[in-house]
Symmetry: C2
């Protein structure tokens, strides 16, 4: 019997005049139950409003029907959109998806991983690069794992990522092609992984990129505005800037407007992601569209594959290209 007034499987069994085993089996359909018995049990379950304790169930069966998504920042559209894709991919298979934010704090992250790893059937972690983020425990414990935004898969985990290097290069080329001479880059809070590769791509495309023109924001809209302001107030301001995300880019637009710097005439701005707001700001933002939702969905498929197969599976890598969406800011 369950404590605190909660009804447990034993209560149901007693009331229905069967064993707990039988109740368990009508619930799981893992072995045939006589139709009459089954009906009776179901009736009692409804009557008592019995709901199995997921914790006990999970403990015994070693599966939870839950998967976790860890993101650095819930307020970022890329992440919520990826969450959406992930959710849509796993829900039909009976998994539900819980998401938790790390705030980019390593301790929180480690803690969350610890807490969650024994409560879910698999995890996808966004903005994680092995060696940077503490994913080793997950790999050691053989928890199905997919890294969103990491570049290279490894033993025990798959990755889904953007063609970040190419995307960075493409954005820069677009700017170079329209005659921009001093092209800056405002990065986000993360200076490794995908963001770093975008910067490398940019460097490959811009001859003698001025290091002073590459600066790091905290990834927020205000952060983007602050960085843009700093760039604009410098002795030799840029005539174009690539921003690590649309959120940052919109902040940059804001700072430019504040200083009456005309976009795109005096300053070209390119973002990343193609979030909803991108089309709606003034001027509409040119951006490298990343298929965030597809990223999430792909991560879900990869994760399910790992969950379903008892054996070791070979690490897989899914790469999505980013596409230039030309609007008016560049």
């Amino acid at each position: 019997m369950a404590r605190r007034g909660r009804v447990g499987i034993a209560d149901v069994a007693a009331r229905a005049g069967v064993s707990v085993t039988t109740v368990s089996h009508v619930l799981s359909s893992r072995r045939p139950v006589a139709e009459a018995t089954r009906a009776k049990v179901l009736e009692v379950i409804a009557e008592l409003d019995y709901r199995p304790n997921e914790m006990a169930r999970g403990m015994r069966s070693q599966r939870t029907s839950a998967i976790a998504l860890l993101v650095p920042d819930l307020s970022h559209p890329f992440h919520t959109s990826a969450a959406r894709g992930l959710q849509d991919a796993v829900r039909p298979k009976g998994y539900h998806c819980i998401v938790s934010a790390t705030d980019g704090d390593g301790d929180v992250e480690r803690d969350l991983i610890r807490q969650l790893m024994t409560r879910v059937d698999g995890m996808v972690i966004a903005g994680a690069e092995p060696g940077i983020v503490a994913v080793q425990p997950l790999i050691d414990a053989e928890v199905p794992l997919v890294l969103l935004g990491a570049d290279i898969p490894g033993p025990g985990f798959d990755v889904v990522t953007n063609a970040d290097y190419d995307a960075g290069a493409m954005a820069a080329h677009h700017l170079v092609d329209q005659g921009r001479r001093r092209i800056g880059f405002i990065t986000g809070s993360q200076d490794f992984g995908g963001p770093a590769r975008r910067v490398e791509g940019y460097r490959s495309a811009v001859e003698r990129a001025d290091p002073a023109l590459v600066i790091r924001s905290d990834g927020s809209l205000e952060g983007g505005a602050r960085c843009m302001a700093r760039l604009l107030d410098a002795a030799e301001p840029p005539d174009a800037v690539i921003c690590i995300s649309d959120v940052v880019a919109i902040g940059a637009l804001y700072a430019a407007r504040d200083r009456s710097v005309a976009v795109p005439e005096d300053l070209a701005v390119i973002g990343f992601d193609d979030i909803e707001a991108a089309a709606l700001v003034t001027p509409p933002l040119t951006t490298m569209a990343t298929s965030s939702r597809e990223h999430g969905a792909a991560a879900g498929e990869l994760l399910l594959r790992r969950i379903d197969s008892a054996e070791q599976v070979e690490p897989r890598r899914v790469v999505f290209p980013a596409t230039l969406v030309r609007r008016q800011s560049a």
Copy 2:
């Protein structure tokens, strides 16, 4: 010993030459352990990279250190911001926060509640009105519960909410005061609870509000644009519109621009929430600011209070006023 190569508390105990009880206690500090023993145990724990199984722990101790937030839609800034506030409120107390999206689907919601209720120490549910959303199981099972956006607390749950009626009235009055005659209202996917009360407030402030001017969107940006287009294309278009959220309002702005309807000259637009983007669209959006983060934080406090007290606690209600932020769209 734990299966599948995972190290369990028994492994640690054996290796350290102590009982599992002792290991458990060095972990929980719930009773003194000799410094030497403690050190030895800690050493073995590190050596074996032991991590307690949260599931087993929770099952035994009836506490999980986790709380869940259920939201209709993760992509809505109000929700992510509330999530942030909630997280900030409970993390210092040792709780981590998992969020899950229901997509406004009743079945998913019921399912998620079922799944999560036995895995967390408490839940906060956004956009839920008792009687509409299936929260009864939570109340019956005495799971600490806070409803975000519901109006009246009840036995077993607290609420934190906006002064929605007042806010709706205030927005409408602002429009009336500037001489608007045909004031519309674009609502969201939810037509009960807070949103409904905003509409009531609006009705109280607008004499003979034309029912044809109150229409329902799906709460998305595109939805807002579609609804605005419909309103604008009608025989007698509105000269002002209140939108249930900034997201919807930005969509409305978009539709207006599409049709070359001048805002605010020919059409005033007011949103709700004061999201980041509100200040950055063109024209900058006038909006009823809701303190989403504070909502989340308040929900966290309320929840902790319920979790901490073994007894019944009297239902509490926290109301935040919305404040008019005047920009240029109205």
